[in-house]
Symmetry: C2
Subunit: 241 residues, 2 copies
DNA sequence: GTTTGCAGGTGACGTAACGTAATCTAATAT
DNA sequence: ATATTAGATTACGTTACGTCACCTGCAAAC
């Protein structure tokens, strides 16, 4: 098992050594091993925890809250709320951007600005400052965390999902047509599973598939997705006709 | 001349009264008027300054730096750097988003994550933490601020721009064809002006027109832009053939 | 005429999340 | 043998306010 020193971790994660020591000090992230002379050594698991902390910090939650959240939420749940947070950030940024360039234009064309003009624009944009708890939506927390196994880390439903995804990969590889018996079965199973997992909450289902879609289009980082997703969409479209 | 109290300003700009008092205390934004009992009253100009401060704060510069920048840069220059900052924010956010959803996918499909997978993704995204000075780019500062009048607030070149824009509006109103003599003259004048203003810096010119384009498409906030911009593009495309 | 409430004020201390010395230790390089 | 490097501890400093205790001027209510 590899272990990393403070310096290594700090460089890798682009944070200061001081920060690591601080997290140890407040007992947020004590290194899993300290040698005789007091040197800190971090395990792979420690790094995961650190990564969680960094993500949660980017939601701007105070370290105290992070401490309690860390215990209760899985990596995945944290990622999902992070994702929500990012989405919202982007849309606020977009209105900021268009406001900013509007202002720039106004300056050019009117020579100077009247305060009314400015405040019109600015007021629209910053009406709501969200708290971090908003990103862990009640419904999601309730469904994802408490009731039934659902999407928690290693449960049965997840296994079924994975098995279905494997079947889909197989279908694609062998060029099975969307009209075939197998595919219809897969689609049925999929919608069934969706309904169980999300308890029929249509919005959550949409959100779920939206999340699946994005990385394929934008990064291509994950090997299968694009085809699979299209396939799935095809399945469902055909099956629900 | 209307004047606003601390409470009013605070509510309007969504900051705390304490913040206003603090800015007075450190002499960053002393209200332009204080009555006998010590009450603060802010003028319209004060509000503009406050707005500048808020913008500059969103570039995360410390108040000390803001103090010095305030004196040196015009509202417009501040807005431009803010714009640059926002653009960059958006693109980092976009890679963050796709990384996040990639990770979510990985969790589902691999069941658990290996540290290598995670760090691959994460490392790409956060290689550079920019300092705020980067948003006041050397070239822009140099060109926009020092040399020649250029785009500073009320100079001759700006006036010429505005006059041309008025001519364009007129042309659109009267349905003048892009092949006509007038339009070619306008286009010539425009490119000439661009070259003077930006000293032939093609990238800056592009940036300039990009900025002009955005708000029209996205918000429609400014009354003329969409047609005018298309017209201008038409002009130049035709004239440079 | 007093009380109450509200919107403002002034200290002064508290705080989060580290940054930044100053000083010490152990291991390695020259 | 010494210098350099990478780590450690202790402790005080910092930014941009939040918060608390207490004071003031004035209009409305009793």
């Amino acid at each position: 098992m590899k272990r990393w020193t403070t310096g290594e971790v700090a460089k890798q994660r682009n944070i200061s050594i001081r920060t690591l020591r601080y997290y140890d000090q407040i007992d947020l992230l004590p290194p899993s091993f300290k040698d005789a002379s007091g040197k800190r050594y971090y395990s792979e698991e420690d790094l995961f925890t650190l990564e969680k902390i960094i993500i949660l910090k980017s939601l701007s939650l105070p370290l105290e809250d992070i401490r309690s959240v860390l215990a209760k939420l899985s990596y995945k749940q944290i990622l999902i709320s992070h994702y929500n947070y990012l989405q919202e950030q982007i849309s606020t940024l977009q209105t900021s951007i268009s406001n900013t360039s509007s202002l720039i234009n106004l300056i050019d064309l009117e020579g100077s600005l009247s305060w009314e003009r400015v405040s019109e624009l600015v007021q629209n944009s910053q009406k709501s400052a969200k708290k971090w708890t908003d990103y862990f939506q009640k419904s999601e927390l309730a469904i994802l965390q408490e009731s039934i196994p659902n999407l928690s880390d290693n449960d049965d439903t997840t296994q079924q999902y994975i098995s279905i995804l494997r079947q889909i990969e197989w279908c694609i590889e062998h060029n099975i047509k969307p009209q075939s018996e197998e595919v219809i079965q897969i689609a049925t199973k999929l919608t069934e599973l969706s309904n169980i997992t999300f308890q029929g909450d249509a919005e959550l289902i949409d959100k779920f598939w939206e999340v699946r879609k994005l990385p394929a289009e934008e990064t291509g980082l994950y090997p299968i997705p694009d085809e699979v997703l299209k396939f799935v969409e095809g399945c469902i479209a055909y099956a629900t006709d």
